[in-house]
Each structure stands twice: as structure tokens, then as C-alpha cells.
């Protein structure tokens, strides 16, 4: 039965094809949808043929990109049609139109199951395909045993079994428990004895998924894979139908080699030998042939073999052979091979000992940076970035700079970021680094983010030797016509601070400097003017003896901006005006900026965020991250006060604790640091003997950066005279075991991290563990920053994640040793499977000297991280609210013992929990309505609605109603909000006064939550 047999459909397709424009097409589609809708309404009159025709039309319309929001039922109902043609259409259209969460799909489970266990092979295939494509968890639980039976049944024909294999793969991904490892590993191995290549092809995909999760259980499959590979490579027993341009199924060869890459090593010498024989033959025996298809297919196999060789850590000889091959590839004419050559060479960087051989191809790779094809240029850039080290940084970065002016816009930002990072990481000397960044700003100012110029300012501030040079360079750039605004910013800043160092040079008198900067003022935006004002104030301060004329000029500018509409500009103008009247006191107030505390390069972080990179490249990224900056930030003195963050480059050196215009967060910071200064009056004991060691180790991520280099006072006092880590080793063990105390309150840190996405999770005298997280829908990417604070390595480092049942967590490899003063980053991938308040725990241990430290830390992968605030209008809210009626989807509870707070504060609390308060929806002003979307793999995006009714007479109680489309979610969310209302964990605030013990009947639905809550249990534990 062909479409051509369905005349109406052919006519419709012709009509669409003849439409002159999108508008006509839309009209035609709308007309057709209207017609189908009417026909479906009087369903009784529809013949199966008509139904089939309409369902195809729907698929066609959907494919064109139009929403088809009806008729799904009709498509699903065709599945249960008795005849093959209708059934087939039903299956195919259903799997194209619906997704696994569609309600109608549940209706079909029984029919599908009957087809799967029935005797009709063709029906079995259709049903298995549908489940394989869109089957969800419910299918997994009810169908897995049947599917497994089919897969291993000897009476079943290959055409059914190959589909069963991939169907099982789907079910396994939905619910890994459906495959019982113990029972299945043997069967899987038997399955690989199969002769039929179709069944083998799909079974191999299944194996890849199983092995990638648990390679140990499937160890017995390894030799079988090698056998299959031998069979194909030797072309033994391969039917003609599976030979593609003379090559025995290249797809199965590739898949088999992919599977082998999931086993860490091959221990059995015989298996290893056989495999290497095959691989060697592929490496040596693949020639370039004329036929494109044959050539592609054989090279597909060759590239996979290369990847496998790299994985197996072959002998050096074979590795160099691989690099030589890749070196040949990146220079050939055929663009596909060039692309893949570069890509695989980048992967090869992970292999030890071959970097030097790869470097021999540097010139060719640089040529590829100018390839006419952007895909190839991207690969070349990635490879250059990965292979860069101290020895070739100068060449590579200069190439990148040169390329920058001609690069396409799509690549410039990435390019400038990468150049900036490499310049920072591998700078042979700092003046070169300054040169590179200034050139970068000059050539591609629009693509240079603020982070990049903040960073160069940090370096210059912290390195006295560099200051005159940087000032001179900045002065030179200002002479150029039409410079980028970022250049104005950075030059003005540097000259404000350091132009007095140039005073004796021609053209560098305060007046001349002022004039050349002031010339730019009319061209810049409001964000730059404050920086210029600060520069003027600084110039004024440095002009000794005072220059009356200059003073008058600058004062005139200040008074002009005293009434500026921009608050920042106005405030600076007023303050500088007042300060500059003070004469000599100005010198103190406007003194040079203090040195910045050491910190991790924000650029590196940005690079991680920017790269929507792939799994395989992440290992390379990791390697790059583990190399700490070699451009040294000299901090020979401790920051004088609360770390001035780069983004607030204010010129005023704030006298300790006396500033009034800091933001509350900053004040808190100053406070914390101030407090520490009191207990630790001496400079950190490690700084004097080991100056260099002090320069590295960008420990803190954000926030309390200033505290990073300071030691815990108790330890510091214990170290007196000893001065460095080695002294610790001498002290008796018993004494030390008690000395490792966390710095700061772990619980408070955890609670703070529940509401924000980066900060310190744990800190003690030796290590600081920071966290930075990025949450998107039900995925989370958390990076753990493990910073060694000492001049000796931390060893036996172990990090174990204990995930709760509802989170899938994968922590990348944590190195066993953290070098002195180094920081390593360990990405942790999180997937939220379903709603739950259970907590994940990081079991972390390390050894320092003779200390063994083991801590269990709660990870802030909490429920609200998977929420996304969404604002809902009244028209959307009320129908939803009504449709979710009563338990278990809508739950109501009177909560007593609430921490009393004004409604506005509660609204803030809700907003901080990602529950968006929707004002105006509830006419009663004592009530609060909020909405949010919850994401998990099972529920997908699910809208949650919340209503809080408060009692103005008694703020300690309220009535809470929560509704969502999922009963577990509703319950968990209710409990979650309740926890936050009853005691709000806000850091740096005294613990909330415990409410009076509440009567048990007050919380009927959840009396024992507090004691059962693993979080609470854990809190007790910590």
C-alpha cells in the first residue's frame, strides 16, 4: 500500500509543493488540519483506509514544522488494527508524533505487549521498534522480561532478535535495573557467538551501553569482541550482503572497536596479541583508493583502530606509527581526512610521551588554522590550544594573534579567549603576556570580554617590575587613532595607577597623560567614564607639586559630572571633588591599589563554560585545567583588607572597616577577613621561606578569596619555628589527629551553597574544596575545586560520591595526589531522575604528612537546583489549579511553628528557592502564590503551583497548598518548602529561634519526617 494509492494525500503533497511562499503553505495546511479535525470528530464514518490517510497527512504536516495537537488518539488506535498496513502506519506515526511521556502511549501498552509476545513476526518487529524508539519507564518495567526472552530465544529469527537487542537497550537506559547483571553477562557473551551480522550489529550497540556502565561484569565479552573483529578483518564467513565496497561490514567493525575501548585494558596476553595483529594489519593495510565510498569506509575503520590503539597504550613504536599516520592525514587534500586527522591528533594529546612527536607537525597545524573550511579551522584551533606548552607558547599565541584579524566572527571570541588563557598559562615572561593581551584588545576589542582585561590589571598590580612597562605600553596605544573602548579602559586604569613611574619620559608628564586620556572621553560609554574619573583623581594626586592649571581643569570635569544622571559617575565625581580638596590627605586615601589576592583565572572558568564540549574532549580539557598558571602573580604581602574584587576596580584604597558604600555582601566579606586578621596577626608562616610556592595555588574561587592563603591560627601557632609543611611530619601522630579542624561552619557553608551556585564547600588548614555548579533542566554540571593550601603535596586523595537513589552522579577521575599549592578541578555530572529531598554525600579523604583526614560532606544538589522559576498569568494559573484537584496531586497542610517573617521576606525566600512569586494572582494580600518548573528525567518539565495563606494575626502559622502533575513531586516539594519555612538556614545569622514544640496533630501528613530525613540524619552526623 503506497501513498500513491492514497490519492487525497498525493494531492495534498502536490498542493504543498506548489505553494509559492510560506504564507500559502500555512493556509493550505490550516485548511487541511481543519478538514481532518472535522472528519475525526465523526469518527464512526471513517474507514481504516481514511484513518490511515489522515494520519499520514498529520505526520507530513508535523514534519513541515506545524503543530498537530489533535488526532494522536487516532494514530494510537491504529496500532490495535488487525491488518498489517493499518497497524504499521499506527506504529510508525505514533513513534514520530508522540514522546515517551505522552499519556496516550500508556493506552497502547497492552496492545504492544500482545504484539511482542504474539506469534506474528512482523507485528513483533513493529512493536519492538516502537518501544525501542519511544518506550519509557513503564514499558521498561512491564516488557523487559519478554524482550530479553526474544533476544536469546533460539526459535526466533534474526529479524526479530536484532530489534529485540536495541529495544532492550532502550529499556535498559530507562531503567538499568531491568538488566540483571549477574544473569545477563553470560547471556550477552553467548549472544556474541551469533553468526548473523544484523543481530551482531545491534547486539554490539547494546554491549557498548552495558560495558560503559560496568565493564567488570562483561569481562567475558572481551575475547568474543576480538574474535568478531578477527572474523571481519579476515573476511571469514561474511555474506556478500554485508560487504560494503569490498569491506566486511565497516559499521560492525567500528562498533566492535568502540566496545573494546570501554574495557580499561586487556590482560590476557593471547587476546591482546590477536587484537594487536588485527590492528596492525588495519594500520598498515589501509591504502588510499579512488572509489570515494570504499575509501571512506576503510578510513572509518582505520580511524577507529587508531582510537583503539591510543586507548590500549600500545608500545611507543606503534604509537609513533599512529602519529605519523595522523601527520600524513592532516596534510592531504581530502578535507574529511584532514578534519579527522586533526580531531584524532587532539585525542592523541592524552597519550603520554607523544606530545613531542605531535609538535613536529606544528607548522602544518598552523596552516590548517587558515583552511578555507571553518570545521577544520575549529579543529586546528582546538589542537593548537591542547598542544601548547611553555616551549611553543610564544609561536602558537603569536599565530593566533595574527590569525585573529582575519578570522571569522563566529570564531573570534573563542580565539581571543584561548589566546588569553595560553598567554597567561605559559608566559615565558610577564611583559610578553602584557603585550599579548594589549594586542588582543587592539585587534579584537569587541570579542575581548571584561575578564580578560581585569586579569591583566591583576597581573600588573601584583608585579611591581611590570608596572612601568605596562604604563609605557598603555601610553603608546593611546597615541593610536581610533582605539577600542576596552583599550581606553585598560590604558586609563593602568596610567592612573602607574603613569607617575613614567614621569621623566617625553610626552608623559601628568598634563600630557591627562590630555591624551581626556581626548577619549567624548567617545566612550557611561561604563567607562567612572574609570576615567578615577584616573583623573589619581593623576591629580600624583602631580607633586600640584599643577594649578591641571587641577582647575580636572575639578571642572568633576563638577560637570556631579549632577550626572548615572549614579556611579555622580558619586565618584562628588567624592573625588571633595577628596581632592583635602590636599595631603589625598595621598593616603588615593594610594596605590593593594595587591590582589591570588585567585583562579576566571578565564579558565569561562573557557569551560563556553565550550559546549563533548565527552571525549573533556579529558583533554581536564589535562589543560590541571596545569596551573605559570604566569606568576607576586603576592609578597597579604591583601590589606577584604579582597577588592576585580569587577569593582575602585581607585580608593579603603581604610579598614570604615567604608560606607560597600554592598552588604562585600561588607560581610570584609568582616570575615577582618575577624581573621585579629586572630592571625602575623603574616602566614609559609610565605617567607618559600616565596615562589606562595605565588601559585589559585585557591579560592569566589567570595572569601582573601582567606585562602591564611592558615588556621591554631596550626600556625603549632608551626612556629617550623615554618613549613615538613615540620608537621615530625610531630607525634596522636597530637595531630585532633588538630585538623575545619575552618568555618560546614553546615552553614552547605546551606549557603543550597541558595547559590558557587562558593566554598569545605576548608581546613590543608585543603579548600570549592564548588561551582551550573544547573540546566534536570542536568547539573558541578565542578569541585580541590585546592592544596600547602607547600607539600596532599596524597592518597580520594573522593567518593554517595548518591541518593534519585540522582545519577558521575565524578571524573580525582587525582591521587594534589601537588603543592595546586588546584585541581573535578567535574561531576548530575542527572536528576525523579523528585526527592534526599541528599548526595561526598566522602572525601586525603593524607597530609601523617594526618589522615576523612570528611563526609553534603553536596548542594538539592531539590531547588532542579527548579526553574516561571511566571504564570491568571489565565494559565487558574485552569491548572482547578484541574489538579485534591490529593495526591494537590496537597494542603497547615504548618505551625513557622519562623515569623513579613510577607515580603517570605517572597524573597521563595524567589531565592527558584519559586517565582506571582503578585496579584491572589486578591488577598496576606496570601502568596508562586510557580516554578521542576525538571527530572522521569517527570520531564513539570509545572508546580504553590499557594500560601498567612494569618496576619499569627505569623507562626500558615496554610500551604502545593499542586503539580506528579504525586511524589507534590509531596516532596511541600516538605521541602516547609523545611525552609520552619527554620531558615541563612549563613552568618544566629540560628533561628526554635519554635515551640508543635502539637503532633499539626502535621498530620508527615509526623516522622524530621527523624527520617537523611539530611537531618546527616546534619547530626557532621
Amino acid at each position: 500500500m503506497a501513498l500513491s494509492g492514497m490519492r487525497g494525500l498525493s494531492v495534498f503533497i502536490s498542493d504543498i509543493r506548489n505553494c509559492q511562499n510560506k504564507e500559502q503553505e500555512r493556509l493550505r495546511v490550516d485548511k487541511e488540519l481543519g478538514k481532518i479535525r472535522t472528519r475525526f470528530k465523526n469518527e464512526k464514518g471513517l474507514t481504516p483506509y481514511e484513518k490511515k490517510k489522515y494520519v499520514w497527512k498529520m505526520l507530513y504536516i508535523y514534519m513541515l514544522g506545524y503543530d498537530v495537537d489533535f488526532g494522536h488518539m487516532e494514530a494510537v488506535s491504529l496500532i490495535s488494527a488487525p491488518k498489517y498496513p493499518e497497524k504499521q502506519v499506527g506504529y510508525i506515526v505514533t513513534s514520530s508524533l508522540l514522546n515517551e511521556n505522552h499519556d496516550f502511549l500508556r493506552l497502547a501498552i497492552n496492545t504492544v505487549r500482545n504484539d511482542i509476545i504474539g506469534r506474528n513476526e512482523t507485528f513483533q518487529c513493529l512493536a519492538l521498534t516502537l518501544v525501542g524508539n519511544i518506550g519509557g519507564r513503564e514499558f521498561a518495567e512491564s516488557l523487559a522480561p519478554d524482550v530479553q526472552k526474544l533476544l536469546i530465544s533460539s526459535s526466533c529469527r534474526p529479524l526479530v532478535r536484532k530489534k529485540a537487542a536495541l529495544c532492550l537497550l532502550r529499556l535498559y537506559r530507562k531503567n538499568p535495573d531491568v538488566v540483571n547483571v549477574d544473569g545477563w553477562s553470560d547471556r550477552m557473551a553467548q549472544l556474541l557467538d551469533e553468526r548473523d551480522l544484523g543481530v551482531l550489529t545491534s547486539s554490539m550497540s547494546l554491549l557498548v551501553a552495558l560495558v560503559s556502565n560496568n565493564h567488570e561484569a562483561y569481562w567475558s565479552c572481551l575475547p568474543k569482541c576480538v574474535k568478531i573483529l578477527e572474523r571481519l578483518a579476515r573476511n571469514q564467513d561474511v555474506p556478500q550482503e554485508y560487504t560494503y565496497y569490498g569491506i566486511p561490514s565497516p559499521w560492525l567493525q567500528v562498533k566492535t572497536m568502540r566496545a573494546l575501548q570501554y574495557f580499561p585494558t586487556i590482560e590476557d596476553p593471547n587476546t591482546r596479541r590477536s587484537l594487536f595483529e588485527v590492528l596492525q594489519r588495519i594500520l598498515m593495510g589501509t591504502d588510499v583508493v579512488k572509489n570515494v565510498n570504499k575509501n571512506n569506509a576503510s578510513h572509518a575503520v582505520l580511524f577507529e583502530a587508531l582510537a583503539l590503539v591510543m586507548h590500549l597504550d600500545a608500545e611507543k613504536e606503534m604509537m609513533s606509527q599512529c602519529v605519523a599516520l595522523l601527520g600524513k592525514f592532516i596534510a592531504v587534500r581530502e578535507p574529511n581526512i584532514r578534519y579527522l586527522g586533526l580531531e584524532n591528533m587532539t585525542r592523541m594529546l592524552m597519550v603520554t610521551d607523544v606530545q613531542d612527536i605531535i609538535k613536529r607537525h606544528q607548522a602544518q597545524i598552523i596552516t590548517s588554522l587558515k583552511d578555507p573550511d571553518i570545521s577544520i579551522r575549529r579543529r586546528a584551533l582546538d589542537l593548537l590550544y591542547g598542544m601548547c606548552d611553555v616551549s611553543n607558547a610564544k609561536d602558537i599565541v603569536e599565530e593566533l594573534l595574527q590569525y585573529l584579524s582575519s578570522a571569522d566572527f563566529a570564531m573570534r571570541e573563542e580565539l581571543s579567549l584561548k589566546a588569553a588563557i595560553l598567554a597567561e598559562k605559559f608566559a615565558p615572561d610577564l611583559s610578553w603576556y602584557v603585550d599579548v593581551i594589549l594586542q588582543l584588545i587592539d585587534k579584537a576589542g569587541d570579542f575581548v570580554s571584561d575578564d580578560i582585561w581585569f586579569r591583566v590589571v591583576q597581573f600588573v598590580t601584583n608585579n611591581e617590575d611590570l608596572q612601568p612597562y605596562a604604563a609605557l605600553k598603555a601610553r603608546e596605544y593611546l597615541d593610536k587613532p581610533a582605539i577600542h573602548e576596552t583599550m581606553v579602559k585598560v590604558s586609563a586604569y593602568i596610567l592612573g595607577e602607574y603613569s607617575h613611574l613614567l614621569a621623566r619620559r617625553p610626552g608623559c608628564s601628568p598634563k600630557e597623560i591627562f590630555n591624551v586620556i581626556h581626548e577619549k572621553l567624548p567617545t566612550v560609554s557611561t561604563s567607562t567614564i567612572p574609570i576615567l574619573l578615577s584616573t583623573y583623581a589619581k593623576i591629580l594626586m600624583h602631580t607633586q607639586p600640584p599643577d594649578q592649571e591641571l587641577q582647575k581643569q580636572i575639578w571642572a570635569i568633576f563638577s560637570k559630572y556631579e549632577s550626572c544622571i548615572d549614579a556611579e559617575i555622580q558619586q565618584r565625581a562628588v567624592e573625588y571633588q571633595a577628596l581632592s580638596m583635602k590636599g595631603a590627605a589625598l595621598m593616603d586615601v588615593l594610594a596605590e591599589m593593594p595587591k590582589f589576592p591570588e585567585r583562579q583565572s576566571s578565564l579558565l572558568r569561562k573557557a569551560e563554560d563556553a565550550e559546549a564540549d563533548t565527552a571525549e574532549q573533556s579529558a583533554i580539557k581536564l589535562r589543560a585545567q590541571q596545569q596551573t598558571s605559570s604566569a606568576l602573580v607576586l603576592t609578597d604581602q597579604r591583601p590589606a583588607n577584604g579582597s577588592p574584587s576585580v569587577s569593582q576596580l575602585g581607585p580608593v584604597k579603603v581604610p579598614n572597616m570604615s567604608n560606607v558604600n560597600q554592598s552588604p555582601a562585600e561588607q560581610e566579606l570584609t568582616h570575615a577577613n577582618g575577624a581573621l586578621t585579629v586572630v592571625d596577626p602575623q603574616p602566614p608562616s609559609t610565605s617567607s621561606p618559600d616565596l615562589l610556592g606562595d605565588l601559585l595555588g589559585p585557591l579560592a574561587i569566589e567570595g572569601p578569596a582573601g582567606t585562602a592563603p591564611q592558615s588556621d591560627p591554631r596550626v600556625a601557632s603549632g608551626l612556629e619555628g617550623g615554618a613549613n609543611g615538613e615540620a608537621l611530619a615530625i610531630a607525634p601522630i596522636e597530637e595531630q589527629n585532633n588538630t585538623v579542624q575545619p575552618i568555618g561552619d560546614i553546615a552553614e557553608r552547605f546551606h549557603a551553597l543550597c541558595l547559590k551556585d558557587s562558593g566554598v564547600l569545605y576548608e581546613d588548614p590543608y585543603i579548600q574544596i570549592g564548588i561551582k555548579a551550573d544547573w540546566r533542566a534536570h542536568h547539573g554540571r558541578v565542578v569541585l575545586f580541590l585546592g592544596n593550601k600547602n607547600t607539600a603535596p596532599l596524597i592518597s586523595v580520594q573522593a567518593l560520591i554517595l548518591p541518593p537513589a534519585h540522582l545519577k552522579m558521575e565524578l571524573s577521575l580525582v587525582p591521587e595526589t594534589i601537588p603543592p599549592r595546586a588546584q585541581v578541578q573535578c567535574p561531576l555530572e548530575v542527572i536528576n531522575l525523579q523528585p526527592s529531598r534526599d541528599l548526595a554525600v561526598l566522602d572525601f579523604s586525603y593524607k597530609f604528612g601523617t594526618h589522615v583526614v576523612n570528611v563526609k560532606l553534603r553536596l548542594p544538589a538539592v531539590l531547588n537546583k532542579f527548579l526553574q522559576p516561571i511566571s504564570v498569568s491568571a489565565e494559565e494559573f487558574f485552569p491548572q489549579w482547578r484541574s489538579l484537584s485534591g490529593p495526591p496531586l494537590k496537597l494542603q497542610e497547615v504548618v505551625r511553628g513557622v519562623r515569623p517573617m513579613p510577607l515580603a521576606e517570605m517572597a524573597n525566600l521563595f524567589n531565592s528557592l527558584q519559586l517565582m512569586v506571582c503578585p496579584g494572582l491572589d486578591p488577598n494580600t496576606n496570601n502568596l502564590v508562586a510557580s516554578t518548573t521542576f525538571y527530572s528525567e522521569r517527570t520531564r518539565a513539570m509545572l508546580c503551583l504553590i499557594r500560601i495563606e498567612t494569618d496576619p494575626a499569627d505569623r507562626t502559622q500558615l496554610r500551604m497548598t502545593i499542586a503539580s502533575g506528579d504525586p511524589t513531586l507534590t509531596f516532596e516539594l511541600k516538605e521541602f518548602i516547609k523545611e525552609h519555612l520552619i527554620s531558615i538556614p541563612i549563613p552568618s545569622r544566629a540560628p533561628a529561634p526554635m519554635p515551640a514544640p508543635m502539637p503532633p496533630q499539626a502535621r498530620p501528613t508527615s509526623p516522622p519526617t524530621a527523624s527520617l530525613d537523611p539530611g537531618a540524619l546527616l546534619a547530626g552526623l557532621l
Binding site: 500500500m1 514544522g65 498496513p85 504499521q88 502506519v89 536484532k162 550489529t201 559499521w251 579527522l340
Partner: protein, 143 residues
């Protein structure tokens, strides 16, 4: 997971067949197809067959007026996918005899059947042309 989607698009950018192996909303599909088609159609014969787009790598091949685009993740071998496209075209050729855009338009269901026999759940399930085509031949005989 391997293959994320298979698209057939003509020179004018009109979609002739779309099969996704992961769920995307209609808006996401429209946006994705628009962006990818724009990128690929702008490329010339001297450029390679791979285009990186968001988290996908698109492997594409042009046959006369029709582009075949396959979106994959990093679990796939690019050249193997490139030849898989050719296998699909050869299979269609065997069935239709010199397949063209119109064949696919007016026999959308057959194109779907063939693809369904070749890819399932984002994995390659069959590469033997006669095995792929046998259910369709069976059906043709029946009608």
C-alpha cells in the same frame, strides 16, 4: 546514544523527511533544522562533510538537489556515518530505481519504513540492503 536525527532537506531548505531519536519540541526542531540547514547549505564541495553545531556533529552529504543530514554525538565514527548515508541512498535506489526528491516526497511512508529498518533508537540495526527491503517487498506484494 549515537544518531540523534536524520534529515532530508532540499536545496531550498524544505524538509522532506525528518526522524528524531531524541525528543525535541516542535519549536526546538524548527530552530535546529533552520540553523543546521543554513550552515550546511552554505558550504561548498571543497569543504569537509562535518559541521559542528551546538552539541551535535552533523554529518552530511549532498545528492543532486537533496541533502542528507545526520546529527550524531561523539559516540559515532564520522566516516562510518557518512557511508551509512550512502547505504541509505543506495537502498532507496534499489527500491525506487534512481531515487529522486519526488520519490521521497510522494512515498514518504516507504522512506520511513526503510529508515526504520536501518536505524532504531539511534543505533544502526541493519546494513544488508535485501534485509532492509524485504518487509517493504512483502507489503508491496500483499497490496
Amino acid at each position: 546514544m549515537g544518531i540523534r536525527f536524520v534529515l532530508m532537506v532540499n536545496k531550498q531548505g524544505q524538509t522532506r523527511l525528518a526522524q528524531y531519536y531524541e525528543y525535541l519540541t516542535l519549536e526546538e526542531r524548527r530552530a535546529l533544522e533552520g540553523e543546521i540547514v543554513r550552515k550546511c547549505l552554505a558550504r561548498n564541495e571543497q569543504q569537509c562533510s562535518f559541521v559542528e553545531h551546538r552539541n551535535y556533529k552533523v554529518v552530511y552529504r549532498r545528492y543532486a538537489s537533496l541533502f542528507f543530514l545526520v546529527g550524531v554525538d561523539n559516540e559515532e565514527n564520522e566516516l562510518a556515518i557518512l557511508e551509512f548515508i550512502h547505504l541509505l541512498v543506495e537502498t532507496m535506489d534499489r527500491h525506487f530505481g534512481n531515487v529522486c526528491e519526488l520519490d521521497i516526497m510522494f512515498h514518504l511512508e516507504k522512506a520511513h519504513f526503510m529508515l526504520e529498518e536501518m536505524v532504531m533508537n539511534g543505533c544502526i540495526v541493519e546494513t544488508s540492503k535485501s534485509n532492509i527491503l524485504s518487509p517493504i517487498q512483502l507489503m508491496d506484494k500483499a497490496s
